[in-house]
């Protein structure tokens, strides 16, 4: 009994899944009898078995549902409420089945509510308008032929009873209709000769009752007379054939293929054993490879190897399931959602037969459902909005699965409104994941990734759909857990596409075996996009920006991660030889620098010991053919390690250049030049006063320092980097920086170009002579920090300035490091003792901490806290109520000026106008003197 019950449970659950899907299909296509009879048959089977097993609740429910469906078959119009009611009933049946599975008995309770509703629904619209005779006939005929086919396919099935009953219950006109359908068959034959279904149809004829053979002759005789059959019947015949076809394929899943049920544990065990076998085979092959002698075992070994491979394939196949299994629930989900949200949504599923490992399937089932749910809820707009946007009222969610290399790609695309990047940015700032300035600078693709943060939802209102179950963060975690990646592409108003890439199987993966410092590691092939051999002399050589290795690969900067460094295997960081394994994880691309690359090998992934699982760099380990244990690198983990570093770098550099970019309207004129090394350098053109080329012989050396007479004064020269020696002969190129009548010459090897480009500093150099590096016109370029050179010649500079200055103290408040670094030397040169603060809070803390400032120079657009707020708090403090303040802004507007006047800010100057700042300061000095 127990076994029987178990069998019943598994089977019924499967049937219900199918009914769910079919029901939704039927709702969309209410005239499709094949679907209806399929549903009818399934429900009837459930009912029959329930009765047999003595499960009264289930039987009653199934019966009531069947009655209503019977009405559909009799021509009652198919309405959404009716379908919903049946679906609800199916849900109830599932619930009861669940209980049954847990407790082994039907739970107590009554379903009179549902049954009553079902009966009411059935009764309410019971006498349907008598359908025209013709359709009724063809209907009956369709189902009859179908039933006969069924019997042929599966003799002795429980449903046989029902079939018989169906026959008995079939109304009188059957004969007429049979003849009708027979006529079609004959017409059909010349149309589609040799079709498989034809055979079956013929068999069906033979088994059909008496009148059939008689009728056959007639049309055969008449056929020559009417060679071109009248279009109408031909068409309907086709249709008929189609319906029976589809009915058959629905059947085929269960009927045609012979299957047995195998316990999953058995399969798992089989898989483990095969894995071990593969390992042993690999070991044997390795031994054979090493010994040159053939003791006659090599041929059998080859055979063993082959058989093992086939066995592995075979066992893998037993674990493979079509991804459609994970999609089965989706039509129902989408249907319920579209009703709930009053949206019109169509679900298109492509590649449902793409197979993947059942373990993987289990893991992605829930994430997929969630993402489709999300697309329906957040992606697709309501019909009115869609119409307004010029889109068809019905939204489409498209699921697509296909194999690609050793992995499977699943796309979930909707044609909805796309991600609202502005809202995500806002939300990210609200939740404190990123600051205002950070999100401003991020690309949309980067911003989109925020939706994977835990608890991130931009839904304006929480519907019953969103906010239950898993969030996108769980989706991502689940997918990454099995070595997969998720990608988002979204276009405002056009829709969003999620691309999931997952390995086919978890147990055995193809991996690239690499070495680093005499230790071997395995990198899953899925993540590897290419291999590049690097050496200093070759086309591909590793360049360094402040020691951070970078590879130029097709005009893009590829961050290089030396494996030995992340592993902490060695301190030798200037390795330039080896191979770069170009790795792509979602949007992140980076290169892993390894010493050697051996080969690819199918490896059996073994889980990491619990003691080592916290190391995110490794996803597992394996035993190679030669018996060595090798660690498997987790590209996702590595990306996270790289990413966290890269992110912070990015943010740092963001802070440094953000203002510059804003000031220059995103485009900055850069003077590109070459220093001693190979690398290009650049400096914002606005800082350069003049470009000069002087005769090297005119350079004089005063106490070992190069100076040149320039416009009647001595101008100190500085080399732009240590590698570049100032020329003793020939022509020397100079960049002249001046302030007032003090100048400095920066010696460079060659002036390359002046370019207008977006200054997007990518990596912050730790070196003080560089702000960072940027891609300028497609080439890596170091951005020179002019401020670094000024102190080198400050002696002259300071001496000159001290004459004019009164040694006042000045507090410079500016959130941009770049600007602070630029201004400090200038201000110092003008004779001020400069203190700096990066935020208003810091400035207030300094001042309240007893710092004396004669003058405050502040950026009015401080990040986080407005400069005005700072000045206001200064004015509130009696100590600083009268401290003169100079405000700096990118673009002064009347509102700011009015506010400034109110707060007694002495002057507002443009941020990039150093001269303006200095003259404002000079004016202040003058007024000081007057006051004194």
């Amino acid at each position: 009994m127990d076994d029987l019950l178990l069998e019943f449970l598994t089977e019924t659950n499967e049937h219900l899944e199918t009914v769910d899907v079919e029901m939704v299909r039927f709702e969309q296509d209410p005239n499709n009898e094949a679907i209806l009879s399929n549903i009818f048959r399934l429900v009837h089977t459930i009912k029959g078995t329930c009765g047999f097993l003595g499960l009264p609740r289930l039987e009653a429910l199934a019966h009531a549902a069947e009655t209503l469906m019977g009405k559909f078959r009799d021509g009652m119009p198919v309405t959404t409420p009716a379908v919903s009611l049946i679906l609800t009933t199916l849900d109830r049946i599932k619930e009861i089945l669940g209980e049954l599975e847990r407790q082994g008995a039907e739970p107590e309770g009554s379903d009179s509510d549902l049954i009553e509703m079902l009966e009411k629904m059935a009764a309410q619209e019971a006498p349907p308008p008598v359908a025209p005779a013709q359709p009724v006939k063809s209907q009956t005929s369709g189902s009859t032929v179908y039933q006969v086919l069924e019997r042929e396919l599966k003799p002795g099935e429980v449903s046989l009873d029902d079939l018989e009953r169906a026959f008995q219950e079939a109304p009188g006109p059957q004969t007429a209709s049979t003849s009708g359908s027979l006529t079609y068959q004959v017409l059909e034959r010349p149309l589609k000769p040799g079709e498989v279904s034809l055979d079956e149809l013929e068999r069906a004829f033979r088994e059909a009752p008496g009148p059939a053979p008689l009728v056959i002759e007639k049309p055969v005789a008449s056929a020559p007379k009417v060679p071109a059959a009248p279009p109408a019947p031909a068409q309907s015949a086709k249709k008929n054939a189609e319906t029976s076809d589809s009915g058959e394929s629905g059947e085929g899943m269960a009927g045609k293929v012979q299957t047995i049920r195998v316990n999953v544990d058995t399969l798992e065990h089989l898989m483990t054993m095969v894995s071990e076998l593969v390992l042993t085979r690999n070991q044997l092959l390795e031994i054979a490879r090493r010994s040159s002698e053939d003791h006659g075992y090599k041929v059998p070994l080859q055979r063993l190897s082959q058989v093992t491979a086939e066995l592995q394939d075979g066992v893998m196949k037993t674990r493979m399931q079509p991804i459609g299994n994970a999609w089965q629930k989706l039509p129902r989900v989408v249907r319920d959602l579209s009703n709930e949200l009053s949206k019109k949504i169509e679900l298109v599923m492509q590649g449902a037969d793409t197979e993947l490992d059942r373990q993987v399937l289990e893991v992605i089932k829930d994430p997929l459902t969630h993402m489709v749910r999300n697309s329906a809820d957040h992606g697709i707009e309501n019909p009115a909005d869609r119409k307004a946007a010029g889109k068809p009222e019905k939204g489409t969610i498209r699921l697509n699965a296909y194999h690609e290399g050793g992995s499977i790609t699943i796309e979930i695309a909707d044609d909805g409104k796309g991600l609202n990047f502005a809202a995500i940015r806002k939300k990210a700032v609200e939740r404190g994941i990123a600051t205002d300035s950070e999100v401003e600078r991020m690309s949309d693709a980067q911003v989109a990734k925020f939706i994977f943060h835990p608890g991130f939802s931009t839904a304006a209102k929480v519907t019953s759909v969103s906010g239950r179950g898993v969030g996108m963060d769980v989706v991502k975690t689940n997918i990454e857990l099995i070595g997969g990646t998720v990608d988002i592409r979204s276009e405002q108003g056009r829709g969003t596409t999620f691309t999931i890439k997952i390995p086919l199987t978890l147990a055995i993966v193809a991996a690239l075996i690499v070495s680093s410092k005499d230790q071997r590691f395995a990198i899953p092939q899925v993540a590897v996009s290419e291999l590049v051999r690097v050496s200093p002399s070759s086309e591909h050589s590793i360049e360094r920006i402040n020691g951070t290795p970078i590879l130029r690969l097709r005009d893009r900067l590829l961050p290089i991660v030396p494996l030995s460094k992340v592993m902490g295997l060695s301190g030798n960081e200037d390795a330039n030889h080896g191979f770069v394994v170009v790795t792509q994880v979602a949007h992140q691309r980076f290169g892993i620098l390894v010493d050697g690359v051996f080969h690819t090998e199918e490896i059996v992934v073994k889980p990491m010991s619990s003691k080592l699982r916290h190391i995110q760099l490794f996803s597992g380990n394996t035993i190679l053919g030669d018996g060595a244990v090798v660690l498997i690198i987790d590209p996702n983990g590595l990306a996270r390690m790289v990413g966290s570093e890269a992110d912070s770098n990015e943010f740092q550099s963001d802070a440094g250049t953000e203002q510059t970019v804003a000031a220059a309207d995103d485009m900055t004129s850069l003077l590109v030049f070459r220093g001693g090394g190979e690398s290009l350098k650049a400096v914002p053109l606005s800082l350069v006063t003049r470009l000069e080329e002087i005769e090297a012989s005119t350079i004089e050396w005063s106490s070992g320092r190069p100076v040149v007479q320039y416009r009647g004064r001595l101008m100190p020269l500085v080399s732009c980097d240590e590698e570049l020696a100032i020329k003793r002969q020939g022509m020397q190129s100079l960049l002249v920086f001046s302030d007032g009548d003090v100048s400095m010459g920066l010696a460079v090897a060659e002036i390359v170009d002046i370019v207008e480009d977006k200054l997007d500093v990518e990596l912050l150099a730790e070196r003080s002579d560089l702000v960072g590096s940027a891609v300028v016109r497609g080439r890596t370029t170091e951005i020179v920090n002019v401020a670094h050179y000024l102190p080198m010649v400050l002696e002259t500079w300071a001496r000159k300035d001290r004459r004019a200055s009164q040694d006042k103290s000045l507090l410079l408040v500016d959130s941009s490091t770049f600007f602070r670094d630029m201004l400090v030397p200038v201000l110092k040169a003008s004779g001020y003792r400069v203190q700096t603060a990066s935020t208003a809070q810091e400035a207030v803390r300094l001042l309240s901490g007893g710092l004396h400032a004669d003058i405050v120079v502040t950026d009015l657009e401080l990040s986080g806290h407005s400069g005005f707020a700072l000045v206001a708090s200064l004015r509130a403090d009696p100590h600083h109520a009268n401290t003169p303040v100079i405000g700096m802004t990118v673009k002064p507007d009347p509102q700011q000026i009015a506010l400034a006047r109110k707060l007694r800010i002495s002057e507002i100057v443009s941020k990039i106008d150093r001269r303006g700042l200095l003259s404002a300061l000079a004016e202040l000095n003058a007024s000081f003197e007057e006051a004194a």
């Binding site: 390992l279 010991s609 003691k611 916290h614 380990n621």
Partner: protein, 162 residues
């Protein structure tokens, strides 16, 4: 190792009351592991070190097709790694379904000892050792520390809690 074969504690008691210990040697100290926990004893041939791993983990071993985590008993006891060892021995243990190999300097005989005669740890014993020791047995010419296998393999939990 023959010297410790002759058991100090008389051996007059019934065998059923006695426990068997696999004795191992680390830095000249004799230690005992309950034989019920020991799967096998093997010579370590090739070991894969795991970068970024906790110091106690010496690496991963391939033991007949199974990946075994090698834990250094020396490092667990706060001792320096031994140098100049021609062969490394390991004791195979199992903990929570995972295989471990405890690296030791040498493996000795199996001793039968009476649990009743086990003495508590001396009060001034090194704290790190106290946590791993269940008690001390007095042999004729040596002291044997009875190792708490679970405690020896429980280092990660401490780390995680920290």
């Amino acid at each position: 190792m023959k010297s410790i074969d002759s058991i100090a504690s008389g051996g007059t008691k019934a065998t059923s009351r006695q426990m068997e210990f696999v004795t191992v040697m680390v830095a000249g100290q004799l230690l005992g592991l309950p034989i019920s926990r020991v799967h096998d004893v093997f010579v370590v041939s090739e070991m894969t070190t795991v970068p970024l791993a906790p110091g106690e983990i010496a690496g991963l071993l391939n033991l007949r097709g199974r990946v075994v985590t090698a834990v250094s008993l020396r490092r667990r006891l706060g001792l320096d790694d031994a140098t100049g060892m021609e062969r490394r021995m390991a004791v195979g243990l199992e903990n929570h379904g995972e295989a471990y190999g405890l690296l030791v300097d040498d493996v000795g005989e199996v001793l039968k000892l009476d649990p009743d005669e086990m003495q508590p740890n001396p009060v001034h014993m090194d704290r790190g050792w106290v946590g791993l020791s269940q008690g001390v047995h007095q042999l004729r010419d040596k002291l044997l520390i009875v190792l708490d296998v679970d405690a020896v393999l429980a280092f990660e939990t401490e780390r995680e809690a920290a």
